[in-house]
C-alpha cells in the first residue's frame, strides 16, 4: 500500500505556494531551531549527563541551561521544577498514572473535563477501569467548563483535577485561576494539573501566578522539534514515576536524556517568548483574518469555539456544512493548504471529534470541521493564499454532494 504515496505526492507537483496549518498534529521546525540543535548531535554535549567525562559534563550543563530558560518562561521557582518527557502524551500519562500511584491512599477520584485531549481522556478511562472513579465535567457551547459542576464533583476523595488551559481543538481559554480556587477550596490536598501545551507561548501563562501544581507543555506546538515536552511539578508535589530504569537528571523519566531535542525545545521557547507580545498580536491578526475571510465569504459555515479574547491567539476551527472533512482536507492538500479535520472518516468508528460533539455540534457539523493553527512564522500572504484556496475547494466538494440533503 505504501508505494501509493509516491503517486499521491507527485500529484502535488507545481504548487505555487504551500501553507502548513496543521500545528495541532505536528509542525515544521524553523531553521534557527534546527541550527541550534545540530552541534548537539556530534560536536558537543553528546555524552550522558550523569557521567564523569567532558561530553557528559557538557550535556549536563546544556540540559540545565535549557531547563533554566524554560523555567523562566513558565515562571518556575527552581529549574528542578521542569521535568523533560518525550512529549505531552507522555507527560499527561505521567500526570494521571503518576498521581494515581502517589495519591492512592488519599482517595480514588479523578476529575477532568469532557474536552480534554485523548492522552488525558484515554488514560482516565484506563484508570476508571482499574479501581479509580473518573468524573468528566461538561462544557458549554463555547467549550467553557461548568464551574458549578466542578465544585460539585470535587470532594475529600478527589486526588487530581486535570484541565486544559486552552482547548487543543477549539482554542477556548479556560479560567484556570477560578477553577483552581474552586478545587482547592473544596479540597486543599487535591493536585491541580493544567494541560498547557496550547497555552505556552500563545497566551500569558505563568505557573506561579496561577499557583497550579502540575503543568504540561509541548515542544512542537511552539515550533520546536517533536519528541520532547515537559511537565512542571511544583516543589513538594508528589508524582510517582510510571517507567523505571536508569534515572539521570530527569527524576520522573528514566533513560538517556535527548540533549539535541531539549536544546531545540529551549530555542523554540526563546523565539516564542523573546517578542511574546508581538508574536501574539501577529498570530491574533492572522487568526482573525482567516476567520473573517471565511465566515463572511462562504455560505453555511460555523465557527467552533469562542471569539476574540476568549480564544487562543492561534486557533481557527470552522465547520463547513454540506462538506465532508476528509475529502476537503485532500482537496486543500492538492492545492497546497495543509489542515486537519474532525471528521470520523479516517476511522470505522463513526464518532467524529469528541470536542465538537461535547460543545453540542451535530455530527454533520463535526464531519465538516477544519482545524487550523497559525504561527509567528506565517505571513499575511500565506493567509491570503489560504483564503483564495478554501472557497474553491469547498465549492468543489459541495458540488459532489449536489442535490442531496445533508442533515
Amino acid at each position: 500500500m505504501f508505494e501509493n504515496v509516491k503517486e499521491l505526492l507527485k500529484a502535488h507537483k507545481g504548487l505555487k505556494r504551500e501553507v502548513y496549518l496543521d500545528i495541532e498534529n505536528s509542525s515544521m521546525v524553523p531553521k534557527e531551531v534546527v541550527d541550534a540543535m545540530l552541534p548537539y548531535f556530534n560536536q558537543r554535549a553528546y555524552g550522558n549527563p550523569t557521567l564523569t567525562h567532558k561530553p557528559g559534563w557538557e550535556a549536563f550543563e546544556t540540559i540545565m541551561e535549557s531547563s533554566q530558560k524554560i523555567a523562566a518562561f513558565l515562571g518556575c521557582k527552581t529549574l528542578e521544577e521542569v521535568n523533560f518527557t518525550p512529549g505531552e502524551t507522555e507527560a499527561n500519562n505521567l500526570v494521571l498514572m503518576g498521581t494515581a500511584l502517589s495519591m492512592k491512599d488519599k482517595g480514588k477520584k479523578i476529575v477532568i473535563s469532557g474536552i480534554e485531549p485523548l492522552n488525558v481522556l484515554h488514560v482516565a478511562d484506563l484508570l476508571n477501569k482499574n479501581g479509580f472513579t473518573v468524573l468528566k465535567i461538561p462544557v458549554d457551547g463555547e467549550g467553557f467548563i461548568n464551574l458549578e459542576k466542578l465544585k460539585e464533583a470535587v470532594d475529600k476523595e478527589t486526588i487530581l483535577v486535570s484541565l486544559s488551559a486552552v482547548n487543543h481543538e477549539i482554542g477556548t481559554i479556560q479560567s484556570v485561576k477560578e477553577a483552581l480556587e474552586i478545587v482547592k477550596d473544596r479540597n486543599s490536598e487535591t493536585i491541580f494539573h493544567v494541560e498547557a501545551s496550547d497555552a505556552y507561548g500563545k497566551i500569558p501563562f505563568n505557573v506561579q501566578d496561577l499557583n497550579v501544581d502540575l503543568a504540561t507543555i509541548s515542544s512542537y506546538k511552539i515550533l520546536g522539534p517533536r519528541g520532547i515536552g515537559a511537565l512542571y511539578v511544583k516543589e513538594g508535589v508528589s508524582v510517582e514515576r510510571i517507567l523505571e530504569g536508569q534515572i539521570g537528571t530527569q527524576k520522573l523519566w528514566p533513560g538517556v536524556e535527548n540533549t539535541p531535542l531539549i536544546v531545540g525545545f529551549a530555542k523554540a521557547s526563546e523565539l516564542a517568548f523573546q517578542d511574546f507580545e508581538e508574536n501574539v498580536t501577529h498570530m491574533r491578526r492572522l487568526r482573525d483574518k482567516l476567520i473573517d475571510g471565511i465566515i463572511g465569504k462562504t455560505s453555511d459555515v460555523k465557527l467552533n469555539g469562542p471569539e476574540g479574547n476568549k480564544r487562543a491567539s492561534d486557533n481557527v476551527n470552522i465547520s463547513f456544512l454540506r462538506c465532508e472533512g476528509e475529502a476537503l482536507t485532500i482537496e486543500l492538500s492538492l492545492n497546497g493548504v495543509y489542515v486537519s479535520s474532525g471528521s470520523a472518516c479516517t476511522r470505522r468508528l463513526l464518532q467524529p471529534s469528541h470536542v465538537l460533539v461535547a460543545i453540542g455540534r451535530k455530527f454533520v457539523e463535526a464531519h465538516g470541521s477544519i482545524l487550523m493553527k497559525v504561527t509567528r512564522c506565517h505571513t499575511e500572504e500565506d493567509i491570503d493564499y489560504v483564503l483564495e484556496v478554501i472557497p474553491r475547494a469547498v465549492k468543489r466538494i459541495r458540488g459532489i454532494v449536489g442535490s442531496m440533503e445533508v442533515k
Binding site: E3, V5, E7, L118, E324, L349, P352, I400
Partner: protein, 166 residues
C-alpha cells in the same frame, strides 16, 4: 480511537479529482440512498433502466470521503450497459478491486456503494412488480451492512440528544 495512514492509490485520486457520472439524473427510473450523513458517509445512485432491464445510464452524488466518491464513481461506470441481473452480482470486493485496492478502514465505502446499487435494483423490481429468481429474498451482506451503518448513526445521534438534555 485510532487513525490509520491513508495512502490512496492513483486511481482513487483520479476519480476523486475527476469523478465520472457525477450529478443528479432528472429522468432516472429509480434512485436509492445508502448511508447517513451523521456517519460522514452517504451516497445516492440514479439509474435509468430500459424496458429490457438494461442499465442505460447511471450517476451518483456523494457526501463522503475520497474512497466513498471513488467507489461510487467506479460502480456507476461498471454497471453502465449491464443487465440488471449482472449488476446485482457485483460484490463489494470486485468494487475494491476495480478502484485498485482500498485501505482496510475504507472497505465500508465499497460495501456502501454496492448496498446502494442493490437497493436501487430491489426498488426497481418492486416498482415493476416482478421478483426474478436471481434477486435474493434475503437482504445481502452489503445491504445489511448499509442498514447497520445507518442504524448506528441513529443510535449515536439519539445518545447525543439524551446527553444534551441531561
Amino acid at each position: 480511537m485510532s487513525r490509520a495512514p491513508l495512502p490512496y492509490n492513483p486511481k482513487i485520486l483520479e476519480l476523486f479529482r475527476n469523478p465520472k457520472n457525477l450529478g443528479k439524473m432528472e429522468d432516472a427510473t429509480v434512485t436509492a440512498v445508502a448511508g447517513n450523513p451523521s456517519c460522514g458517509d452517504m451516497i445516492i445512485f440514479y439509474l435509468k433502466i430500459s424496458d429490457e432491464d438494461v442499465i442505460e445510464k447511471a450517476s451518483f452524488e456523494s457526501y463522503g470521503c475520497a474512497a466513498n466518491i471513488a467507489t461510487s464513481s467506479v460502480v456507476t461506470e461498471m454497471i453502465k450497459g449491464m443487465k440488471l441481473e449482472d449488476a446485482w452480482k457485483i460484490s463489494w470486493k470486485s468494487v475494491v478491486e476495480a478502484v485498485g485496492g482500498l485501505p482496510s478502514v475504507k472497505f465500508h465505502c465499497g460495501i456502501l456503494a454496492v448496498g446502494a446499487l442493490r437497493r436501487a435494483i430491489r426498488a426497481y423490481c418492486k416498482n415493476k412488480g416482478v421478483s426474478p429468481t436471481w434477486l435474493s429474498k434475503e437482504q445481502t451482506f452489503e445491504e445489511k451492512q448499509a442498514l447497520e451503518e445507518e442504524e448506528l448513526a441513529e443510535i449515536l445521534s439519539r445518545r447525543m440528544k439524551v446527553e444534551e438534555e441531561k
